[in-house]
Amino acid sequence: MKALLRAAVTLLVLVAGWQALVWATGLPRYLLPSPLAVLDAIQRQAPLLWTHGLTTLAEILIGLVAGVTLGGVSALLLARFRTARRWLMPLLLVSQAIPVFALAPLLVLWLGYGMVSKIAMAVLVIYFPVTTALFDGLRRTDPGWLDLARTMGASPASILWNIRLPAALPAFWSGVRVAAAVAPIGAVIGEWVGSSSGLGYLMLHANARMQIDLLFAAVLVLGLFAVALYAAVDALARRALPWQPDTQPAEDANP
């Protein structure tokens, strides 16, 4: 509760600073709208923001689920099969050298102006952090646990499922947190390149028509999505790892 209050105070100070800057410099509305003007835009354009927001939200969520699933399965395959490691690891690393954003026009060309190309974009940016996080976690199992499992006659598959995977879950959830943070970026970039709806589309449109207050409103909605998504993933991670001691908040809670 206290943390929330602190965040609110910080936010309030930043917004007040923004308003003061607009008052002091007298910047025109089409360069930097005041927070009040943005608020006004949100109110006036609520239905528009809502429909476009829903499109983007759907892209982000579907992309996140698909990307995390794909990344998780890939990491498990890489950890389980030596052949997969030898053939796919270099490919995985090289694929990261290609800027995913450069592929966006291609994705739009192949998959069309609809949601599919944006979901694919989100999946591409999510896939790597999830795969590497889980794969790293799977490789760092306590050797003592592996020794114990081997003396108990466990098969490699059983060790992967019963020991290495649960032990890697904290690392996996770190990857999912990163994925939740970058998923909105993937979706919006996809929308910038070519689309007929979504917050990215709305931003470009508003920018072209000098509706900077609407642009800010769209950014704000996107920011809210990102924060809500991160909080949801964080809460999910805590529920999934009740055995994982989390000392950080306890330390921060002390004044």
Binding site: D142, L148, T151, A167, W243
Partner: protein
């Protein structure tokens, strides 16, 4: 109490080189059936490697041979207990004791669960079945590890400095529990604590030198666990310390 007749195991002509250095060759270690053999020695002498060879965790170097009393291979017939408790933090105490069954995809059957509860009872952890390992003290965690080892119910029990991470008093108590619960089994315990070996060992070997040689067996008299203030035990301790320092 025991499900099987005790097994004798001998490792002979054992050879180990590490990074080009010969640690030992032509070494023999006998583990008589139903007795607890303690292996003492300074760090780096190769005693843990001997234990790991028996556990199937280290590849034996030729011409090392492992021979069992019944001529059958040792694989699948050992239970292993390490210096760390190796409890899985995401499983409850009871599920940790039943880990072997879980790893071998055996269905959780009520008889096994009942046996696990009984073993937890024997190591003094009644009522802690549903707790997670994080809620236990170091001594309690090692007690769970002991129960897990007993749950495996294997003819040969291999223990690698199982109590060395514990404080003195906790260690003495656990030695008593271990001696009582392991009685009648073939046990190999690697330790660097002469007092520990004298309290619970039937036969004690000191391994020293480079290349290392296996000292003759020292067989303290009297039933285990022996008392810490036993006069004979203290005399043996002086002898062991002398051999270790050689």
């Amino acid at each position: 109490m025991l499900a099987m007749t005790p097994l004798s195991v001998t490792i002979s002509r054992a050879r180990l080189t590490y990074g080009g250095t010969l640690l030992f060759s032509d070494l023999t270690l006998e583990l008589p059936a139903g007795r607890t053999t303690c292996l003492l020695g300074p760090s780096g002498v190769g005693k843990t490697t001997l234990l790991r060879i028996l556990a199937g965790l280290a590849e034996p170097e030729p011409p090392t041979e492992v021979v069992t009393g019944d001529g059958q291979p040792l694989a699948g017939r050992i239970a292993y207990m390490a210096q760390q408790d190796l409890l899985l933090p995401w499983l409850t105490v009871l599920d940790n004791v039943l880990l072997g069954d879980r790893l071998r995809h055996r269905r959780p059957n009520p008889a096994r669960v009942e046996q696990a509860r009984m073993l937890l009872d024997r190591v003094g952890l009644t009522g802690r079945e549903r707790d997670r390992p994080a809620g236990l003290s170091g001594g309690q965690r090692q007690r769970v590890a002991l129960a897990r080892t007993l749950m495996e119910d294997k003819p040969l029990v291999l223990m690698d400095e199982p109590f060395s991470a514990l404080d003195a008093i906790t260690r003495l108590r656990l030695q008593e529990t271990a001696a009582e619960t392991l009685a009648g089994r073939t046990v190999l315990m690697v330790t660097h604590d002469p007092l520990e070996a004298l309290r619970i060992g039937d036969r004690l070997h000191v391994m020293t030198g480079r290349p290392a040689i296996m000292g003759p067996a020292l067989e303290p008299s009297g039933p285990v666990p022996r008392r810490v203030d036993d006069a004979g035990l203290l005399a043996h301790q002086a002898e062991l310390l002398r051999r270790l320092a050689e």
